[in-house]
């Protein structure tokens, strides 16, 4: 029925599956400028702001005696609070760009079982986010410490809690990327999903600040932004989860977003 010359004639046994979906998602991610752009933005923001804050805090430490609460590890990782927005955009775009451009219809015509598509996106994005997030955290740490060392006590990888904070910061960004993917899957629209992501990270804490302080203490530690601060701090903070409990909770948030998003992806028309 089909021309014999075609290389496609040799239909492999079995059926399409996760491995092909992974390869395809990897090609998608690396073949778009927006990927490189959001990763570059994350590097610039995280490392640049980390360096600026490190210089400022170290100088205040040396010249004005602002010594209490000075934690060189924590200070060098401050830029993460800005870099997190860039990785959120990356996570959102992985799915919303498919909807805005119609690519989702190509994707689902090739892989009609939608959870397979979403799972492949989770693994690909998760892997890329983990590698770049850990890289950016380590670089931010070393750049920050080099700056701080000139005028204040600095940290090294063997300083208690330092390594855990760096790794924790990278894990925080990674899970945020997956949370963003979950929001994008649920909301479908790029602007809407980014707004939701920013709202959760930046607006929720502001809303919380307007509540009575007893609420702040009780609820504050559940907010993703505060979990992030716990994860990138060498010591456990007051009214806060430990780094690893926070990581587990944040992962649960991301999992819920992905499960709900995945459920609507299956139920709705493409």
């Amino acid at each position: 029925m089909t021309p014999a010359s075609s290389p496609v004639d040799r239909v492999p046994p079995g059926h399409y599956g996760f491995l092909g979906a992974l390869k395809s998602e990897w090609t998608k991610l690396r073949s778009l400028r927006s990927t490189a752009l959001s990763i570059a933005t994350m590097f610039v923001l995280t490392i640049g702001i980390g360096a600026l804050v490190s210089a400022a805090r170290a100088s205040r430490y040396a010249n004005h005696g602002f010594k209490s609460g000075f934690d060189p590890t924590r200070v060098s990782l401050t830029g993460l609070l800005f870099g997190q927005l860039a990785i959120g955009v990356l996570g959102v775009l992985v799915i919303t760009a498919e909807h805005s451009t119609g690519t989702i219809r190509s994707t689902l015509s090739a892989i009609p079982r939608r959870p397979v598509v979403l799972a492949a996106k989770v693994v690909t994005l998760g892997f890329v986010a983990l590698v770049v997030s850990e890289a950016v955290c380590f670089v931010a740490f070393f750049v920050g410490q080099a700056i701080i060392a000139a005028s204040a006590p600095h940290a090294t990888l063997s300083t208690p809690g330092a390594l855990r904070s760096i790794v924790g910061g990278g894990l925080y960004l990674t899970v945020l990327a997956l949370l963003a993917l979950g929001l994008g899957t649920l909301i479908r629209h790029t602007a809407g999903a980014i707004t939701a992501f920013v709202g959760i990270l930046l607006i929720l804490p502001l809303i919380l600040q307007s509540l009575p302080s007893s609420y702040i203490a009780a609820i504050g530690k559940y907010l993703p932004a505060n979990i992030g601060i716990a994860m990138m701090s060498p010591s456990t903070l007051p009214d806060s989860f430990s780094a690893w409990t926070g990581f587990a909770l944040l992962s649960a948030y991301a999992a819920v977003a992905l499960l709900v998003g995945g459920w609507t992806m299956v139920k709705r028309d493409a």
């Binding site: 089909t2 290389p7 390869k23 451009t101 689902l108 090739a110």
Partner: protein, 308 residues
């Protein structure tokens, strides 16, 4: 082979597809004809498992789309709306598709060659012209060398040369024994491309018939007569069983009698004839009439005989 059984789909209160049942067979081009908004694209998306039917089922080669083992190797589709990221190159888009269904990279280059896009394969799709975009869409459909092919309005936006290219391509796919299902809102296009027709209007199946039969059944033929004495000729024709409608310029549109019979009547009545010609309503008119979408058009031409 595509089989739909009682396929229905609503968007809110709007019934887009209404209890469609059909079979689309291999080895011929099946045209899917209907005016804009008739439900063609929605039906195609349901075949592909992209839209969920409200009720009914549709299978491709005996299975629902989502349980095909290698979908792209069985079904190739050019959907109406663009389904390609403008920021990605043609090559990379095809590669993302090929990788999902274990289709070798060599095939990506092969289909790019086939549709004549090799020289722009690395260029971002956003920079493509409409025609190049359609060619890329066709390359995607060909990627898995599938036995079933769906094309939703494939000639939209193409120049005459491109239209001829697509037409010949579809006919050659059918000649190779593939199932070719192609939608259009243009009867004239379908008359040239399709062997068999599914006609829909407002989501409902109106006809499922060979193209030739559809044209024969739906064409309105009439005889145009001009005479200095229309009143007496009209009376005579009506007495002989014909139906007469006066056209706006005074000519008579006659149905129910052959031109020769009308000539004989005129001769026996000694009425002069200035014109006696067989007219056929165009395919487009026939199609409009059948899908009931052009009431104004009929009133305007006066060619309607009121027989339906």
């Amino acid at each position: 082979m595509i089989v739909a059984d009682g396929l229905s789909k609503s968007f809110g209160d709007n019934v887009a597809v209404d209890n469609l049942s059909f079979e689309i067979h291999p080895g011929q081009v099946t045209g899917f004809l209907g005016p804009n908004g008739a439900g063609k694209s929605t039906t195609m998306r349901m075949i592909m498992g992209l839209d969920h039917p409200k009720s009914g089922t549709v299978t491709v080669n005996g299975r629902p789309y989502h349980s095909l083992p290698w979908p792209l190797r069985e079904v190739g589709a050019l959907l109406e709306a663009s389904a390609i990221h403008p920021g990605r190159s043609a090559y990379n888009h095809l590669l993302t598709m090929a990788q999902t269904n274990a289709i070798p990279k060599a095939r990506v280059n092969e289909v790019l060659e086939l549709v004549g896009l090799s020289h722009v394969a690395r260029r971002r799709v956003g920079k493509f012209s409409l025609g190049m975009g359609q060619r890329l869409g066709i390359a995607v459909a060909l990627l898995g060398d599938p036995g079933v092919m769906l094309f939703d309005e494939p000639v939209n936006g193409l120049d005459p040369e491109g239209i001829r290219w697509v037409r010949n391509l579809l006919r050659s796919f059918a000649a190779e024994g593939r199932t070719v299902f192609v939608s259009s809102h243009l009867m004239s296009e379908m008359a040239l491309t399709a062997d068999h027709l599914l006609v829909i209007g407002k989501g409902k199946l109106i006809a499922d018939t060979p193209v030739a039969d559809f044209i024969a059944q739906s064409s309105r033929q009439f005889v145009r007569v001009r005479t200095p004495d229309p009143l007496s000729l009209t009376r005579s024709i009506e007495r002989a069983g014909g139906t007469v409608i006066e056209e706006s310029d005074g000519a008579l549109a006659v149905t129910g009698l052959e031109a020769a019979e009308i000539g004989d009547i005129a001769a026996s009545q000694q009425v002069a004839l200035h014109e006696l010609s067989l007219q056929s309503a165009s395919l487009e008119e026939a199609f409009m009439e059948i899908t009931g979408s052009s009431v104004e058009f009929r009133a305007e031409t006066g060619a309607e005989t009121g027989a339906r």
